[in-house]
Symmetry: C2
């Protein structure tokens, strides 16, 4: 690699997600000008190497001359023991950056070019700035062919899980609707029927709860891959956190930049979802696209464009797709936040008379679509079969087995004990509930980190209200959380009430 | 700012250009989930604050509970003494990022929107990733009106230098041509004439030398502002490094992202150059646009588009502009690299018979254009006056005074003692020299960090050569540098020789 040999020293500083290396300013023979060029370095021993940002240290409590310090993240990624000899040099510019520049200049990229970019991104050779440049250039315009190439490249950058079943089904909602925890009802229904459905989900990043956060109220979701495979072998299904199995390393890197920039184009969405499903070994997929004024997709025209893109890319990659449009005009269920959502899910599975009907209906609709993939089932019988499995208690039993197999949580978590009720100020009918605003209020209350924090919706669209009627109740585990959430909600409840 | 009070501790780690803060993982009462949200924080005491990236420390040699560590860059920028009480919180998202998202979505931004973005960039509120997103979105398309707004916003983000003269002239080359050190000849000519020309220049970032690097071979260029003003008062001129006076903080931040991404659109170029000239207090500006197959501008058509953009934006902002197209088909002068270029400059000023003619001619042409700004000079007399000032020795005398005023370098620097001659392999005439490749070879040899490293061109376009004739000589201070440069040059000399 060039440069003189240095000894690795582990430095107990965590700069996740960036790799950082540390070097004493004095005693290693580098001039200030040389340090300027050494902002980003490649460190290795000829067989393994990583890229890292270099920090210059003036205090020898951390390092001695002749040592190169590695922060915890960098030390882990390089994987060599302390004291190993390595060399380092100014990080070479990944050649695929030239292709990103062509994309910025307005060129269309071919499959090989996109594959080269994605390989370098998955290998952590791009800085967040460079990833952002690629994503923004793609947001400018991206052909259907480029989207297909991107999806394939992202799937190829990871490895593919294999299952001992020909039919491996999945169901994915594009998100944006608070409380929409249908997966936790669909999965046990499908498992009870006997199809294989290894569902991995994300944790919330910008929403008040992800399926993984809500499932975690009931059972362990952070399963190592062998445990996950074992649960699926035994129960046909799993409801686990996908972050642990690292299915699509390129997607994980891209998402870390898409989120803060809030880049959420249809092309990126399709590539991200389908590449993960391919990596998870799915063969058949139901995609749920909620359409509504405060949903991700706001009109039927947009929904059709997105459906066509899903179908084109999915089919080219060998997936059987069923894209379903659903009502995205308001939150689903009553609870928003992990504990409150888990309560709703179990109420539906148990068949409680006061279980939220909209969550039950939506789950049955989607489970019906998934069941239609079963060639043994007569066409059109999916929905009826889903109702049967739910009403008979078979789905509940499957869920209880799944919870036990993943590891049941020892204690029952409760909704946050700090509460505030948001009330109507007028007579009228509720005509809209703003999904964005409700999500923000629930997050301010502490969801998803505080499992019991969130919102309990007591009134939904179509209900008539009078002054002082409670619209919803905010739950928090801390006074501060309740205070922030209440301030936002009292400024704007998110409810439209028409006299 | 919220959060509990912490004491500042200075941590002797330099993470320039990023601000970094350090916090112990244990003992401050934060959960892993909270640390996840605290990747980027705002630290302050109510009257001053900075943004920083948070690194988590597991070793209490650096910090104790109740302390927040600040890296050297962050400590300097916050400007509070060690032990001061501060609080911190998750960094708020700058509201102007919403405008960047609109630009990514294809909107045209108005003046107020661009001003808001630039204010936040100049205040270090954007991450490199966010700056990259803005720049790439602008590279996608940018209207003339947006370019004007960007230039004005960048100039307004800094402060404007004031000079006790009505006419403050400057001359700027858009770059890309190795050896093109005309400023170091134009400035003494203009100073000898008596016009005010406070020239600040950049150091090389991607080229083998910037004017500041070459001038530094002869004199100090890193002048504090009061010294710089003093030199101009005394000598009418200066040849200083612009980085010290921080004229356009927004431009400095943008450039730190443009360079690695190699974003070099005409719109960014015009905004960057003209905002800096406005901040420097210039009233009249000659812009030199070299046109050639390996220059930044490759055709006359492109050159005209760029000239029109300069003229539109410059005139709207009250600058008097004279845009000159020059021959950019090959390097200028013989030496490439600080010491070799300084040698050429002084040879021209002294009137040495073997001084490079092209450097002399180009300097006189540009000096002539600058002198035409002088209302006291009869129209068309600029060039003749420039020749007169050079030939009489008045320009040399002005340069010697300038060197003394800035601080003459005590020792004379020599070209690198490791040498390699690149030779012709054939009979023929030199028809082209690749500016890019020559620049890369010179940089590999060690320029601009090693002042004596670089290339001495012994043959130029139009010369006839025979096998074994020396085309150029590579100079380096180290064997390694010579080795890298020689390898590249022996693979491709950069010379096109036509039989």
């Amino acid at each position: 690699m060039g440069g003189k040999a240095m000894q690795i020293r582990r430095v107990a500083i965590d700069t996740h997600p960036e790799n950082t290396a540390f070097l004493l300013r004095e005693g290693n023979g580098y001039s200030p000008e040389q340090f300027q060029a050494l902002r980003k370095i490649e460190i290795g021993n000829g067989s393994v190497s990583i890229l890292a940002t270099l920090a210059i240290v003036d205090d020898n409590c951390l390092l001695e001359p002749g040592q190169i310090g590695l922060g915890e993240q960098a030390f882990r990624r390089l994987g060599l023991p302390e004291g190993s000899e390595v060399t380092f040099r100014q990080a070479p510019v990944p050649p695929s950056l030239e292709l990103v520049r062509r994309k910025i200049d307005g060129d269309t990229l071919d499959d090989a070019a996109i594959a080269a970019i994605i390989r370098d991104i998955a290998a952590y050779r791009y800085s967040p700035m460079e990833i952002g440049a690629f994503l923004v250039a793609c947001a400018g315009f991206m052909t259907t062919q480029e989207t297909l190439a991107l999806t394939r490249a992202m799937a190829d950058a990871g490895r593919q899980m294999q299952w001992p079943a020909e039919l491996v089904v999945d169901k994915h909602c594009i998100g944006g609707i608070p409380g929409n925890r249908t997966s936790m009802i669909v999965v046990p229904i499908i498992a009870a029927h006997g199809l294989t459905m290894p569902k991995t989900s994300s944790r919330a990043i910008t929403s008040p709860s992800g399926t993984a956060d809500t499932m975690e109220v009931l059972a362990a979701v952070d399963l190592p891959e062998d445990r996950l495979v074992e649960v699926v072998r035994q129960e046909h299904a799993v409801l686990a956190w996908g972050g642990r199995v690292n299915l699509s390393p390129a997607d994980d890197v891209l998402i870390s930049v898409e989120r803060p920039l809030r880049i959420d184009t249809f092309e990126q969405m399709v590539a991200s979802i389908l590449s993960k499903k391919l990596a998870a070994g799915s063969t058949h997929l139901v995609v749920d696209i909620p359409v509504g004024p405060s949903a991700k997709v706001r009109s039927r025209r947009e929904a059709i464009r997105l459906r066509k893109l899903f179908e084109y890319v999915g089919t080219k990659l060998g997936l059987v797709l069923d894209v379903v449009f659903t009502d995205g005009s308001q939150p689903i269920g009553r609870g928003i936040g992990p504990v409150l959502e888990a309560r709703d899910v179990m109420a539906v599975l148990r068949g409680d008379p006061d279980a939220p009907e909209d969550l039950r209906d939506r789950s049955l609709l989607l489970a019906g679509h998934v069941l239609e993939f079963d060639p043994a089932l007569e066409g059109g019988q999916g929905y009826a079969r889903a109702c049967e499995l739910l009403e008979s208690g078979a789905a509940l039993a499957a869920m209880e087995r799944l919870i036990d197999a993943q590891g049941r949580r020892a204690t029952t978590l409760q909704p946050g004990e700090h509460r505030h009720e948001v009330r109507s100020h007028q007579f009228g009918t509720i005509t809209a509930i703003d999904c964005h605003l409700i999500a923000r209020i629930a997050r301010l209350a502490g969801a998803p980190m505080d499992k019991g924090a969130g919102i309990d919706l007591l009134r939904k669209v179509g209900d008539t209200v009078r002054p002082e009627d409670v619209l919803y109740r905010i739950h928090a585990h801390s006074d501060t959380g309740l205070h922030y959430a209440r301030d936002l909600a009292e400024g704007d409840s998110g409810y439209t009430i028409t006299p």
